[in-house]
């Protein structure tokens, strides 16, 4: 693992590139988005979506990250300054934190993933291009909705975490916090949509032969990031829902006077908020693991250890959130649990550091700009990590909490640990997607200005924080001795960081106009993306590469060589089909091809669906409640139209001919594998949201001496038990219907699906009637609030399952399904199983938990 690669190729030379077959141009046209304005709206191609996400992230960085911070630093430069008033300062720090945490780093990494993964993994596209487009549009709409608060002079001012009760209806009665909750809510939907793509993309759409143990470390880290997004953003969406219900509908979740708990918000927020830090730093570490081996001409030391460290950070980060709450009065035993877990994360991080240092130690560094940024990362992130271990100790944290020490710590982590690798990544991959190398001399200026600037700006904050300067104060008294440190910090921003970012922007603009041309592999790198031309063709790969090494471009002379049947298969895919966008799925572990499937084509419906999501949130913001129904109808119509099945572009006989030739199944009608995965992850997403509501239920129950409160009788069991029984029966009947379809009994399939639909509707109606008839309102007490919310969430899950069942019934009546083409039916059966479990657990909690006490 640690031996020298055999004579690394010189930059731009000797990269094993297979001659492009004659079908290259035809495939390039086939995979291109439509031209012109229509193509901008309907485009789904991963280059387009990925680069849009990155550019939009940078746009928000310049808007929120830079502008706000300069103003804040100017205000704090001298004591008792009156450049900004306290309200504006509140708005600026809220905006700065919110934008950088939600609207900058996340889309940057998701953009990197969508842009890079198909090339890095040796496949042609992400598995769900329309979902990627939907993710981008919702992210853009959410960001703009959030920012539109400025136009209405309703800028959020409660901090990036919007703690209740400050953010509740009593202390923030205007619309500012609604902009925060709802705008970010839209963006969070987009983040989760793209996470779906990344998880399934990394696990199931790779080049033949790319086993898990040959997966590039950046792909590992993006996989871990995406799983973390799914587990972290979902509780935040639930928390945001509860906060908006409190603000807009009069529920009492966070009102302690009526059974609510303000700490519940902190838990729901930080169970997102702390993993969010690792959601950002894990992919950043992945970039570092890609760049170091290339620039020291040495295989990474401890690949397996780095994989383990990445996975460990993903898990450990979900046991740390309460270290943001050390000062709220938690029990010492709980503090000790979280402190212990917080310190444990230093172990995998330390493993990463030593692996990187060992690789550099063993190699011969080539001092190019990406490598400079990586070295900057190692220095700054190390300091940020060590101060992180310090604040993980509750006694120290109680001293440093809410002081500028924490501001210094988190900026060392996020700028050193995240922003520097992002700059490294941009310098590294820019030539791949533009065909031009960023200027090296400007790159050095860029690096040194930022490196000096970050240290000059943020190091003094540790000192002034320990001297007692709190965070989020708009000014401070003269004579406290804080002035000189604040002045140095401001000089760091104005004299170094701002010019550093300006140099970067100038470098990008200048290079796009007259940059030095880059060959396919200007760095002599080892991973697959450097084997295709710069910029790559629309479809990326004509013949799929065959991977037999972790460093294919260093170890393989010919990417087309390998196992005989695989060679034939990869060539076959290069020649056929040329009428529809074909990609492959592989088995997770060993990367053997499983299926050739049709990737979705450009469509306007993701944009319309994202518009529907926006309308729902906009209607709530403007309190035009019927608009919520309009938006929901838009989402339903958009989602159905987007997934509307079309006749497969070839007959089963044509599919079979390829199968006979190559031994891999063909599904021109759509993949059975990745749609099953998507259904599974959708079920996981719903289950996480459901679990978040269940935990909220039990947390509120813990906080209330009487549950339910006095005067409320326990709900009756009769109708609930009947309804649950009907739902379970409906699920079983739906599964039975699928089995009939597999046996080619289409009549039996139709009657059973129709029966499942009718039985399910009866169960739903019974339960809706029962929930509507309970004798308590959601506004009276937190008990009613959580009862109604959990009940209606479960009912919504049931209603969605019924809607999908009705659609499958319609499409079945149209004759779309057979034993061969039955993927949608199998997915509906899976959905029914999940719905049954959620229904039983949900209503058992609501109806039985009060009885138990």
């Amino acid at each position: 693992m640690t031996s020298l690669p055999p004579d690394p190729p010189l930059p731009g030379e000797e990269t094993p590139i297979t001659p492009e077959p004659s079908t290259h141009a035809a495939l390039d046209r086939l995979w291109a988005d439509p031209p012109g304005f229509r193509g901008q709206l309907t485009g789904v191609q991963n280059d387009k979506i990925g680069s849009r996400l990155i550019l939009t992230g940078f746009f928000f960085l310049l808007l929120g990250g830079s502008f706000d911070s300069v103003l804040m630093r100017l205000q704090l430069a001298i004591p008792e300054n009156d450049l900004l008033n306290p309200q504006l300062y509140n708005e600026l720090f809220t905006n700065h934190g919110t934008v950088t945490m939600f609207l900058v780093i996340l889309p940057l990494f998701e953009g990197f993933a969508v842009l890079l993964l198909p090339l890095l993994l040796g496949t042609r596209e992400m598995p769900f291009p329309r979902l990627g487009a939907f993710g981008y549009w919702t992210f853009l709409f959410g960001g703009l909705l959030y920012y539109s608060a400025t136009l209405f002079a309703q800028v959020p001012d409660a901090g990036w975490f919007a703690y209740t009760p400050l953010s509740g209806p009593q202390f923030s009665p205007d619309l500012a916090i609604d902009f925060w909750v709802l705008g970010l809510g839209v963006a969070e939907v987009g983040a989760i949509a793209v996470a779906f793509e990344i998880i399934i993309g990394v696990l199931k759409t790779r080049a033949p032969g790319m086993s898990l143990s040959r997966l590039p470390l950046f792909a590992w880290s993006l996989l871990v990031m995406a799983v973390m997004i799914l587990f972290a953003f979902t509780p935040l969406i639930v928390g945001s829902l509860l906060l908006e219900l409190d603000r807009g509908f009069g529920t009492q979740f966070f009102n302690p006077e009526l059974g609510g708990s303000s700490l519940l918000w902190q838990h729901l927020f930080w169970i997102f908020g702390h993993p969010e830090v690792y959601i950002q730093s894990v992919p950043a570490a992945g970039i570092v693991s890609m760049i170091i081996p290339v620039f020291v001409r040495k295989r990474i030391v401890g690949y397996t250890w780095l994989v383990a460290a990445t996975v460990a950070i993903g898990f450990l980060s979900f046991g740390l959130w309460a270290h943001h709450m050390f000062a709220v009065g938690l029990s010492p035993i709980i503090l000790s649990f979280f402190a212990a877990a917080s310190m444990m994360i230093a172990i995998p991080t330390g493993v990463q550091f030593f692996a990187w240092i060992a690789t550099i130690w063993e190699g011969r560094p080539q001092w190019k700009t990406p490598f400079f940024f990586v070295i900057g990362f190692l220095v700054i992130f190390l300091i940020g990590g060590i101060t992180g271990v310090m604040v993980a100790a509750p006694p120290f944290d109680l001293q440093a909490h809410d002081s500028h020490f924490v501001v210094g710590h988190l900026h060392y982590v996020l700028i050193g640990g995240v922003a520097f690798p992002i700059f490294a990544g941009v310098y590294y991959w820019f030539p791949k997607f533009t065909g031009k190398l960023l200027d090296e001399r400007l790159g050095r200026w860029n690096f040194w200005l930022l490196f000096i600037g970050v240290n000059v700006t943020f190091f003094p904050m540790h000192i002034v924080g320990l001297m007692g300067m709190p965070r989020r104060v708009y000014t401070y008294d003269d004579g406290l001795g804080w002035g000189i440190y604040n002045l140095i910090s401001t000089v760091g921003v104005v004299a170094f960081i701002v010019p550093g970012i300006a140099v970067f922007v100038w470098n990008v603009v200048r290079t796009l106009r007259r940059g030095e041309p880059a060959g396919p592999n200007p760095w002599g790198a080892d991973t697959l993306e450097w084997a295709v031309p710069s910029p790559p063709a629309q479809h990326g790969w004509t013949n799929l590469p065959l991977v037999t090494s972790r460093h294919p471009l260093w170890d393989q002379d010919d990417l087309a060589a390998g196992d005989g049947s695989l060679v034939k298969f990869a060539r076959g895919i290069g020649q056929w089909p040329l009428r529809w966008r074909a990609a492959i799925t592989v088995s997770i572990g060993d990367g053997r091809p499983q299926e050739v499937f049709r990737v979705a084509s450009p469509s306007i419906w993701p944009l319309i669906t994202a518009g529907g999501v926006l309308i729902i949130f906009l209607a709530e913001l403007s309190k035009v409640r019927w608009g919520i129904a309009v938006g929901a109808v838009g989402v339903v119509i958009g989602a159905i139209a987007w997934n509307w099945p079309h006749d497969p572009p070839m007959t089963t006989a044509e599919e079979t001919a390829f199968e006979e030739e190559h031994g891999v199944a063909v599904n021109a009608g759509g993949s059975v594998v990745i749609t099953a995965w998507a259904t599974g992850i959708a079920i996981l997403f719903v289950s996480i949201a459901f679990a978040s509501l269940l935990l909220s239920y039990f947390y509120l129950r813990l906080e209330n001496p009487r549950w339910p409160p006095a005067g409320i009788v326990d709900p009756g069991l009769g109708w609930a038990v009947t309804a649950a029984g009907l739902v379970v029966v409906a699920g079983l009947v739906a599964r039975w219907g699928m089995r009939r379809l597999l046996a080619e009994d289409r009549g039996g399939f139709m009657t059973r699906m129709a029966a499942a639909l009718l039985i399910g509707i009866t169960g739903l109606v019974l339960q809706v009637t029962d929930v509507s008839a309970v004798g308590f309102a959601w506004t009276e007490h937190a008990y009613g609030s959580i009862f109604q919310t959990l009940a209606w969430f479960t009912l919504l899950v049931g209603a969605i399952t019924l809607l999908v069942t009705a659609l499958v019934l319609y499409w079945g009546w149209r004759g779309l399904y057979s034993s061969r083409r039955h993927a949608a039916v199998a997915n509906v059966a899976r959905l029914w199983s999940a719905t049954s479990v959620i229904w039983i657990v949900g209503f058992a909690t609501l109806y039985l938990a009060p009885r138990l006490t």
Binding site: L702, S819, A826
Partner: protein
């Protein structure tokens, strides 16, 4: 994928296939995923144990120390400490078992010898993650010896 690989005549497995077993000569062969399932479970098993243990002891501590509702007295010390220590012992044993199995897969690929080069790294990673998991479980769980009460 199973079956002969020679001359492009590799026939996929019908067992557990997701497309029509009777309707198509070429069902989508998911046997490759099935064969790796246990190894992938070993890869993440130690960490799943750690997160399960963490959430269990945390929720019991919340019930014991935060909760003042009826019926929550049962969690109060010394029950909290006993539950935490028992859960810690069970979780460490589970991590050790996972680590042992991962170690065995790493050293001896058995009947998966042809795939050993691509399976062993994941088995090794699983062993590392089980080791870290047991350490983390102990570090969290044993803190009740220092703070036995709320």
């Amino acid at each position: 994928m199973t079956g002969s690989k020679s001359g492009g005549e590799r026939r996929p497995s019908r067992e557990g296939a997701w497309t029509g077993v009777d309707g198509s000569g070429y069902p989508v062969d998911v046997s490759g995923d099935r064969r790796w399932r246990s190894l992938l479970a070993l890869l993440v098993g130690g960490q799943v144990v750690w997160i399960s243990h963490f959430w269990l002891v945390y929720l019991v501590a919340e019930a014991a120390c935060t909760g003042d509702g009826m019926g929550l007295d049962v969690f109060e010390p010394p029950v909290l400490g006993v539950v935490t220590l028992v859960a810690t012992a069970v979780a460490v044993a589970a991590c050790a078992a996972i680590g042992y199995l991962a170690h065995r897969s790493w050293r001896d690929p058995g009947d998966t010898i042809s795939e050993a080069p691509i399976r062993r790294p994941l088995a090794f990673a699983g062993m590392l993650l089980a080791g870290l998991g047991s350490l983390a479980v102990l570090f969290v769980g044993l803190s009740v010896l220092v703070f036995p009460t709320c």
